[in-house]
Symmetry: D2
Subunit: 421 residues, 4 copies
């Protein structure tokens, strides 16, 4: 049986699961869970996989779930989805919008929302798993459906690896994943090479000396110190990184003092760094440390600044062979809807999983925005203003054709290995 024959057969089951899948999606969307707290979602996932005949391994790295479907000789293909939501107050106005409240890591009550589309990812992967399970005659090999926790905190994939993932499931030949993005629903974007950036957050604590606001001469002013560091950091991208190389140094947070007339004794900066190249990442991190130390010295601080690197995302660098194979399969099935969105500045921890197995991978984008809306915004030049992106309180993927497309991509890509015959 040819690959495209496999694809046709397996995907012919899509109409049958449509109502089930949409209901699943709305339920997940209405019940988002914060990173590391995805127990309800993981329960649903495990139950569905079992219904479809998968062998299920739960509780890997906390709430991680892996379903395995062995179906004769052939390659092993891993498909991955992430399950967690964000501490955002949903403002979509959807009738299935979230009103959920959670407890963040600091113990504060926060609103929770699937603001990054992981509910789409879970729904599509469960849909693809069901379709594959129902058409075992059309392919052979092993399908691994992996649902990870805590992508938003950058430690869910690594957490599963640290919890013995490699030893607990069969070694895949290839790993595949996808993300819903603010592009027209129905489109698919494979991209060879660097696709998503490395990301690192750095918390810098700068030390001054406190005093009453009327007595600056007794202080080492942390507000001036923090401001100088922020200003100085601009030179890393503008002067130190080779022109045209991708590097972002964002200071997302500055926190100094609590009251106008008290000079505090320290300042906290939280930075986010984006790069596509390890040597540039190292150059940037080194420059940040150099600058913070030297500016502390310029202020006369007697205590070295402290640095904490956190939320580090690996580079997502798609294998060219794997990407070519997936792209060819997508072109066969989706035709002109395959369009390279180009390199994305976002980040993902997905690659930690293939890295642990030492296997090649590819990761692609699928559109989630009503195509008519998107086209209108494009014509008016108002895409960035009118189309809420991932992490926006108004991010609202249109259910169809998003789910249909995002399910088909997984099936088509998996069959590029499993359907060959």
């Amino acid at each position: 049986m040819s690959m495209s024959a496999s694809v046709s057969t397996v995907l012919s089951g899509q109409p049958d699961i449509k109502a089930w899948q949409e209901s699943l999606y709305k339920d997940l969307h209405a019940h988002p869970e914060l990173s590391h707290q995805e127990s309800r979602t993981a329960g649903i996932v495990a139950e569905r996989l079992k219904e479809d005949g998968f062998t299920v391994h739960g509780g890997i790295g906390g709430t991680g779930v892996v379903g395995i479907l062995e179906n004769g000789q052939g390659p092993t293909v891993l498909l991955r989805a992430d399950m967690d939501a964000l501490p955002i107050a949903e403002a979509t106005g959807l009738d299935y919008a979230s009103t959920a409240v959670g407890m963040d890591a600091a113990g504060r009550e926060v609103p929770v929302m699937h603001g990054c589309g992981h509910d789409v990812h879970v729904s599509c992967l469960l849909g693809a798993a069901r379709l594959m399970a129902r058409s075992r005659g059309s392919w052979s090999g092993t399908l691994v459906a992996l649902f990870q926790p805590a992508e938003e905190t950058a430690d869910g994939a690594r957490g599963m690896v640290d919890d013995g993932l490699v030893a607990r499931i069969p070694r895949p030949d290839v790993a595949l994943g996808q993300h819903v993005l603010a592009r027209p629903a129905g489109t698919v974007s494979p991209h060879p090479g660097a696709f998503l950036s490395m990301a690192d957050s750095v918390r810098i604590t700068l030390f001054g000396r406190g005093s009453h606001g009327s007595m600056p001469h007794l202080s080492i002013d942390p507000a001036v110190l923090a401001a100088m560091v922020v200003v100085r950091l601009q030179g890393i991208v503008s002067r130190e990184v080779q022109p045209g190389e991708f590097a972002v140094v964002t200071v997302g947070r500055i926190a100094v003092g609590a009251k106008s007339n008290i000079i505090d004794d320290h300042a906290v900066l939280e930075l986010n760094i984006r790069t596509y190249d390890t040597s540039i990442r190292d150059q940037v991190l080194g420059a940040i440390e150099r600058i913070a130390r030297a500016e502390s010295a310029a202020s006369g601080s007697s205590r070295e600044p402290e640095f904490e690197v956190y939320d580090s995302y690996p580079l997502t660098h798609n294998s060219s062979d794997v990407t070519q194979r997936v792209t060819d399969a997508f072109r066969d099935y989706f035709g002109g809807s395959v369009t390279d969105y180009g390199r994305q500045t976002a980040s993902e921890d997905f690659s930690a999983i293939p890295y642990a197995f030492g296997i090649p991978y590819t990761y692609w984008g699928v559109g989630g925005i009503d195509p008519g809306l998107y086209r209108a915004a494009e014509e008016h030049g108002t895409v960035s203003a009118d189309i809420p992106g991932n992490h926006s309180p108004r991010f609202a993927p249109v259910i169809e054709p998003t789910l249909e497309t995002g399910t088909a991509t997984l099936v088509v890509a998996a069959l590029a290995w499993l359907g060959e015959g």
Copy 2:
């Protein structure tokens, strides 16, 4: 009867009130109340004044209390104390330390402490009132004992004025006040001319445009904008104010963003400005506004910054005649313990009261630190390190001779008008 005979007679009553006054002080210290919430304190004040025969007007400007003791022909002298405490967790280790908890203006529970010595002020003024009441034969005229709320929020004195103070009590000829400071107990510091600085706080909201941390080109970065404003503000004192003129521009608070990888859409700065000259105050405030507007323009912000001036304290500029008269009286009574501490960088809202009446005033300092401790720290050059100042969680005036001195100052100063015969 000569003035010094009046002084001797009135102050001969001090030993009799000592135990009562110390007990009063410890009770007040253990039960501090936040600004505008001084109801327990005001109740105690009103009760004691009535015991001593004063006519009491309560509830002026909220919790303000004024006691009036008419005692024949002669001038009217206003003595003033402030009653409120601070949201500080006391760390003095005293056996009468505060463990009180209050509710701040934002509705948050906060610890409360008499960290600025207003309990000393109240105890001394009640003591002086009692001594004067018990020796009516030694003086003539009218004594006004005014206890104001909310000095720490800069609106207690104005609040009493706005509530009709001028119409509700006899017009004084002179107003007198004092503050306990981190100097040797037993010393007294009158100072002619500018004694305490004007203070203003300014909250600046700067507007940028939010974006994901990986997409700075879609943002107008409020962190960079805030940093540039803080840096630029340094030039006001370093280049714009005439060298040698007193001016302080402190940025006590910078608040930008909540997370490393989100570029927020605004920044908040809270500044504190100290000056002794209205024209310099206006110059500085004008420069702050000019800089914040221009830096917003430099960032390409499409929205003008917002400015809110709050916690404005007037200049405390002691009348030279009144100060000379008080100083002469202090020298007669305290001798070598009268020592000018010089101009202080702190601020006070006391002068709003004489300003409303259009009368001259003077305001002096009294020491509150164990003289032996102070001398030792001075010898080791460690005063600023070892002697906790006002607003420190460890600020702990020694009870004696602080209360005795701070009571005598009020009596001696009042008798400089009322005791002449």
Copy 3:
């Protein structure tokens, strides 16, 4: 006759011109002339071209020279070289090093050196012209050899155009040019698309108010203003330009004041901007102006800054068809020595000529460094330290194989149009 047969025949003349060409090169190198002053060089060029049977048009745009060789039916190909040198004191230690002195535009005596290799360009183009003239039977069409002045001041090519170039010579079908670079001699680098950046210089005059150094309050300090502008400009590349897009904003010159104790009344900044995209160029220039204006306002300057854009170089954006054709021809002749150096950050005014004619063009690099030296530096990772680049006082192309290669490239490329038959 096939193209490669043409190439073999024409280039078979190279050994015969070698001694002549090297002597020509050493003479040019020892006698460099500043931009717009290339009269000696232009005289040598005109004389040689006449010797070889070219019709010569001199004095176009000052010292520009064009030689035309009509050789039957066929396309017209323009080959271009630039003739001017730089105000640099040569430090190569070569026995034919320059000791020349010239007069710069400001009337100052300055040393002069062929520090950018234009002597190589002239020698190679005269060599190629001679070879083509000696083998007229191997090609047909018209060869245009153009020698332009003043590339270093960005106005030599435009000057020839403004002086009527288009009307004075036959319209070419294609324009070709090359630059010697600090890469291994013998290598050749064609590159499709953007090859050399746009460059613009901007002179900003910022206005303050002068005063004695001891009276800053009477001044508007231009040193602080200039420093703030320089600091602020860093944000253009770090925050405003899309990450990964090429943009450089260099402040090459800051000039404020003459004496430590005088506050001057203005400051001058000289910036250099490099981009590959007109919309980014416009974005950057707009941001520079916005920042300089706003920082002047932040300083309270009463006079708007002045901007002068000068030394503007157009983008060198190689035609893909033309580049492909040249690359194919290079590969045939040079084999593995054809290696894409990639996009270069330098700039050129060459493209003003094909732009004026409305014809496609390509521009390539040729190596000029002793290959053994280059390889050794590469192995030690010391290329940037050890290999002096263009504009260095030690820039010293090795004569061979630089001249042989740079001559062959011109012949091979020209014959890609003229040698086809």
Copy 4:
């Protein structure tokens, strides 16, 4: 004879010397000489002193001249004037304006002008010397008239000391000097305590790494480094020096690079520091060095900055006893024209002379501006705009009453010691 009788008698000679003195002044004004080159002026001084019977010592510390007139028993009083002019092109439009050209220390031809009024100082001291010499019967003691070179370069007074001044002339009991200032002519300003500030210039060379303007990543950008240092220096006065203390840190000169598209390898800053207190001077100089070093480190510079302190002027701190004595004498003679201009921000090297002898001194100001003009400018609030100050190309003291007043001050002050009887 009483002091005021002495004064009357000596000053009764003023009308007789008026024409001579004005002619002398115009000649000096038209023939200014740069620091260390005052040979013509010194020749005139020596000649006039000899005419008046002084014993003259010339050539002390270069062109310094001291005249000594011994006149019986009594104290020894030193009167001092400085002789040098400035490299300024005169723009007063006076008919006796300077058109002189001199050679500066760097060997460049520069215009020369008496832009600081030292011609007034010389004319007044020669006039006072003549009056004292003609009335020897009215006083007794020794008069020392000292004319020093090179005040403008801060090394003339020290140069005379280093050349043995103390051993070569009688030890004075007191030293007296004066400066003409942009205040109403006819007024005199004695001031006890700190009168003129200390001044120091600091040249900082910051080291980066050069590169082509298009390759910032290969550079360490000295323009950004210099800008950051200038910005950072603002914090010294704004945050480190105690509020209200006098301190000025002016960056008078920034010099980076020569061309927009070349990143230079170093930057030069020239700073001027003004203080009235040695401990603040040391604090400021220490902070400057700390900041320059740390900012170099923040840029990643591999070479420490270099610092050169030059043109250091000592504090002029008038003895209170001497100043009181002079002030009393001035009040007796000038009445209401004695008016304290207050502390001046300018600097002087005069005090190096009394310091070398270990004697007390005072130094006062005399007005030099037409009183009507000054009053009008004051009324319009345009003094700083309309009245050219010292060092302005338009500084033009009105001849009378400036010379008459500045001569009388010296006589009156000297007789405060010599005229007592």
